[in-house]
């Protein structure tokens, strides 16, 4: 049984971040690669070392391509499932992790959207508990879905609320 199969083989239907998150990550990697490329070209021109310069440019493009593939796999690995009593969040490719956060332990829900996320109509939902180590962040949700999840989690949290 793999970690993807959900808890106890229970057919949890995983929800995933929006496909637009993949596009956003494409652009992010491309932007970083472009900056690195420009730097490499400038240095090549200034130092006037053609062979090293060409190698550097190829290297940068290669690293960019690998980073893009990894970013894509990380986006695909991300998933969450709302169950009756708790929220399940899974993520990670190299280090896989799956968190179970009971609704009753929720202290508050945070919805954030950076400038680039906003441009893509995306938002990040994070659920906070009294434990600092709790890890319940879901990035790249469509704004409407993020708002729905926030309201849903808030009302479930109130229903299950309990003290420390």
């Amino acid at each position: 049984m793999a970690i993807e199969d959900g808890v106890n083989g229970e057919a949890s239907s995983w929800d995933a971040p929006s496909p637009r998150l993949r596009v956003l990550r494409h652009y992010e990697v491309a932007a970083c690669t472009l900056v690195a490329l420009i730097l490499a070209v400038i240095i090549t021109v200034v130092v006037d070392a053609t062979v090293a310069g060409v190698t550097a440019v190829i290297g940068v493009i290669l690293v960019g391509a690998i980073a893009d593939v990894i970013a894509g796999r990380r986006v695909r690995a991300w998933g969450y499932a709302e169950r009756a009593e708790d929220l399940l969040v899974k993520r990670g490719v190299m280090f896989r992790r799956m968190s179970v956060i009971p609704y009753g332990r929720m202290q508050y829900v945070e919805v954030t959207a950076g400038p680039f996320e906003r441009a893509f109509g995306l938002a990040t939902v994070q659920m906070h508990t009294a434990a600092a180590a709790s890890d319940a962040r879901i990035p790249g949700l469509p704004a409407v879905e993020a708002a729905r999840l926030r309201d849903q989690l808030t009302s479930l949290g109130e229903a299950h609320a309990m003290g420390l």
């Binding site: 808890v7 009753g104 003290g163």
Partner: protein, 459 residues
């Protein structure tokens, strides 16, 4: 076992304190006039010494210089008097109110019904004047403590007993205080053992090695000696001070079993009596360093729920999360753990043998177990550490698989609590077992919480 506990006379025996009782009756009361002096403590003493000694010693100093020094003293004195004048407290309508500050006035309210514990603290200077600080801890999540610093010992004792009685719903008109129930002493740490154990900690060993090194150097090459001493002095002093602080804080630590939790009394210069409320403990950790193992000693630390530390007051609270037992035999440790968490899982499960590839060193002690109330995990090689976490305190559960673990079909389960330091990690379990745990533990945690709620309501 019940040896007389010197620092605190039973509240019932002390004569009624008119001032404290007036405060309970709803009249505004001031703290003890010496409070600002004690609170400023060493700071003021240092200033006085720095200012006074040159003034007195060097008579040839100019008059203006003397006046400036006297002026500083007068300003400090006036500030102290003002802070005493503007700080006052009273109990009114089931709420303890403390007001302080002249320019930025603060007024704090502590509902008596929410009082969870009242600790008493006596710094060295306060003991000289026979004063006590009361620290009132509320049950609400913020974990903010109210301070009444300082009252006379007898006043503090009366007030503590009355406040606790009020918080338990005894009518305000009731006479003095109910007879305090005798507390059973669970464990006390002899100073000799504490001293020896501190010498065997990492810090202690470094300090001893350095001292031995210096002695050898003094015999072999006396010329280098003074230079080496001056170079290493600051570092050594720092180590010695940190060791002394632990010795000072845990000196003659006695754990007694009070009705509302475990009561810890300790201290050489500053003595304190604090209560660790039973229901607030998030986790316990037992640590057995390598150097202690020949003697079979261990150290117990408890983690209580609290917010992130900021400022002086919270640093004192962080002490509440300190050692429950600075040093003791394994039997004493086990006794305390069983007292706090009754019904722990008895047998442990070792991880699969292939976990040795991932954790070659800690594999030796690696084990874990969980029953319907508690989870326990042991790890570490040089310093064996065992963590106990009550399932009703678990905030979230995480399953982690690193690249090596994935190849070996292993996974680790983390149980997060609201405590700051300790959280249990069921490390390197078989993947199937890990998934099964991840499926079962949330339900078990919920059941444990419901059991806990029910027992609270019935009591």
């Amino acid at each position: 076992m019940s040896e007389p506990l010197a620092p605190e006379p039973p509240a019932g025996l002390s004569p009624p304190q008119p001032r404290a009782l007036a405060g309970l009756g709803g009249d505004w009361q001031r703290l003890h006039p010496l409070s600002p002096l004690v609170r400023a403590g060493r700071g003021v003493l240092t200033i006085v010494v720095i200012v006074l000694i040159p003034t007195v010693a060097s008579r040839q100093g100019s008059l203006g210089n003397d006046l400036a020094h006297v002026g500083v003293l007068v300003v400090i004195f006036v500030l102290g008097v003002i802070s005493w004048l503007v700080t006052r407290w009273r109990v009114e309508g089931g709420v303890l109110r403390v007001e302080s500050g002249l320019i930025r006035r603060t007024s704090e309210r502590f509902p008596l019904s929410q009082i969870q514990a009242i600790d008493t603290v006596r710094p060295g200077l306060a003991r000289v004047f026979g004063l006590t600080e009361l620290r009132i801890r509320l049950a609400s999540g913020s974990g903010k403590a109210g301070r009444l610093a300082y009252l006379t010992n007898a006043e503090a004792e009366t007030l503590r007993a009355r406040l606790l009685a009020l918080s338990h719903g005894v009518a305000e008109a009731a006479p003095a205080s109910p007879a305090p129930t005798p507390e059973q002493t669970l464990v006390s740490v002899p100073p000799g053992q504490l001293f020896a154990s501190l010498l065997l900690t990492g810090t202690g060993l470094v300090l001893e090695l350095a001292i031995v090194g210096l002695l050898v150097l003094a015999i072999v090459a006396p010329a280098v000696e003074s230079a080496a001493i001056s170079a290493g002095a600051v570092g050594l002093l720092g180590l010695a001070v940190s060791l002394f602080r632990r010795f000072n804080g845990d000196y003659r630590l006695t754990v007694t079993d009070a009705p509302d939790g475990l009561r810890l009394r300790a201290g050489l210069v500053e003595t304190s009596a604090e209560t660790i409320p039973q229901g607030r403990i998030q986790a316990i950790r037992m640590i057995e360093p390598l150097a202690w193992r020949p003697f079979g000693w261990c150290r117990l630390e408890v983690d209580v729920a609290s917010q992130k530390s900021k400022g002086r007051q919270d640093r004192n609270q962080a002490k509440a999360a300190r050692a429950l037992l600075p040093v003791g035999s394994r039997e004493q440790g086990a006794l305390l753990v069983a007292k706090v968490f009754p019904g722990l899982p008895s047998e442990r499960l070792a991880p699969p043998a292939r976990a040795r590839w991932k954790s070659p060193l800690r594999f030796h002690y690696l084990s874990c177990a969980a029953n319907e109330r508690y989870a326990v995990a042991t790890s570490g090689r040089l310093q064996r550490a065992t963590d106990w976490v009550p399932l009703e305190k678990v905030q979230s559960i995480r399953l982690l698989e690193g690249p090596i673990q994935r190849r070996l079909r292993l996974s680790s389960i983390h149980l997060d609590t609201a405590g700051r330091k300790v959280h249990a990690v069921l490390r390197d379990r078989d993947r199937m077992e890990g998934m099964q745990l991840l499926g079962e533990l949330p339900d078990q945690c919920r059941h444990a919480r419901q059991l806990e709620d029910r027992s609270h309501r019935s009591s």
